[in-house]
């Protein structure tokens, strides 16, 4: 019988990361989609970094930054008595940074695919930009929101290098499923590695299947805008 703790920890981490990123990602995506500011390419490049950077590089910098002797870590330690390295909190922070582009980019292209006239119509009908976002824009990019959430969730499940760097391998705290698999293989316990791997495989497939299923149904609903990117044609 396998230890379920790493799997539960993985799903807790993924769920928390996804929820936090929905809250953080929507305003960022809105700003990037519609904002006109000089440093936009710089902002986009920084936000996109986790897509191309080796996770170990990101993990290394976060480790340096957040360690009790590091600049931010020392401040957090002395001011709030919070220590983020080798803790679940640190994993959440690292995952949020690591998966940011997976949430932001689908939502950003969803916003950009909506015709400008929809926003303008809402403004002339007396709606503020905030009301317009809630009442018009978000309901019309449901597929993009779903894509962003699922990519984030799946991406967090698959984290390895980053988690190992910043969290280590502490059972119940930072030992997520991907680390547990590595651990079991190292100690030649193949049946346990098989079990963890199979669970992740089935869950990942199930999530993707559900997304395609739902997106297919959203796509055939009459109220759907013509050009919202779904998971298949997103970035």
């Amino acid at each position: 019988m396998i230890d379920w703790q790493p799997l539960l920890l993985t799903f807790r981490l993924s769920l928390l990361t996804t929820l936090l990123l929905l809250v953080i990602g929507i305003p960022i995506a809105y700003g990037l989609a519609y904002g006109r500011f000089r440093w936009k390419p710089v902002a986009e490049a920084i936000l996109g970094l986790p897509l191309v950077l080796p996770p170990s590089v990101l993990g290394f910098y976060l480790l340096v930054l957040l360690s009790p002797t590091g600049p931010l870590g020392r401040l957090l330690d002395s001011a709030l008595d919070v220590r983020l390295v080798f803790s679940f909190g640190g994993l959440v922070l690292a995952s949020v940074i690591y998966s940011l582009p997976f949430m932001v980019q689908p939502i950003q292209s969803g916003f950009q695919a909506l015709p400008l006239s929809l926003r303008e119509a809402a403004y002339t009908l007396g709606q503020s930009p905030w009301q317009t976002a809630i009442r018009v824009l978000l309901p019309n990019i449901k597929a993009s929101l779903l894509t962003g959430a699922v990519l984030t969730f799946a991406h967090t499940i698959g984290e390895f290098g980053l988690v190992l760097m910043i969290g280590g391998n502490i059972p119940g705290e930072t030992k997520v499923a991907s680390i547990a698999i590595y651990d079991e293989v190292e100690s030649l316990n193949y049946p346990a590695a098989h079990a963890y791997s199979l669970v992740l495989l089935v869950v990942s497939f199930g999530i993707l299947l559900a997304v395609y299923w739902v997106n297919g149904r959203v796509g055939s609903r009459p109220g759907k805008p013509p050009t919202t990117p779904g998971i298949g044609n997103g970035p």
Binding site: P115, T124, N140, P222
Partner: protein, 294 residues
Amino acid sequence: MFDVHVIKKLALPTGETRLDVRFTVEEGNFVVLSGKSGAGKTTLLKILAGLVKPEAGTIRVGEETWLDTRRGVWVASQQRNVGLVFQDYALFPHLTVRQNLAFGLPGKPHPAPVDDMLRRTGLETLQHRYPATLSGGQQQRVALARTLVRGSKLLLLDEPFSALDAETKGALREELVRAHRTFGLTTVLVSHEPAEYRLADYAIELDAGRVVRQGKAAVPFQTPPGPDAPSGAESPVFGEVLGIAPGAVGFEVRVRVAERVVALLATAEVVRMLQPGDQVQVSTRDFSPLIRKV
């Protein structure tokens, strides 16, 4: 009075130019705005709607001032209560016809005005349908109804019928004219079509941001401007009566304006005062031509 003077930089593929438009019309007038694409028509409409801020200018509607750059006045689109009808209809795809109409009403959705507007526009049977299931003409009627239900007094339309077939176009044009009269609207219509110039009390033609011609009535637009006509000047149209004949409704008066012969419909009352050879001034009011002996 609806008094507009706006200046705004325009970025065109051919380079940068300046939109500079000034006109004053009576409230309740029907203004037709024409010109080649890229002339600045849509930008002007968006400035009137409060969606684009010009560099300089003033917009006054009745007692209200929406824009006065010298005094730093700028009223946001949300506070102007203008109706804007788009070429692509801009209906909210996730809402039904009924929900689209109720969308812009403040506070809790009150069914009475929506019911009333659905009935007036003949959209009752379609009220629970989504926009994607409607024809272009039906969608445009919904878009018009959505602005009218808010009681806007200024209606702006950006080539609203350009994507429709001729028959639908004609029917919608009539509905627009009816709405314009019934609700006492001041209407600004961006149009490429001569058939729509005829609706105008006042017409403006733009080219690359500049006013080429403007003036009361659409008639000046049926004749090329004379070489000495100052650009942008209002010019009343004078002509000579060539003949009068009874028509199917009223009388047909043929008038020579510059090099053209224009046929106008007139009532018996007007015709009684006219005879061939008379010099007349022609203008339009409420979509019917007005002939006055001079």
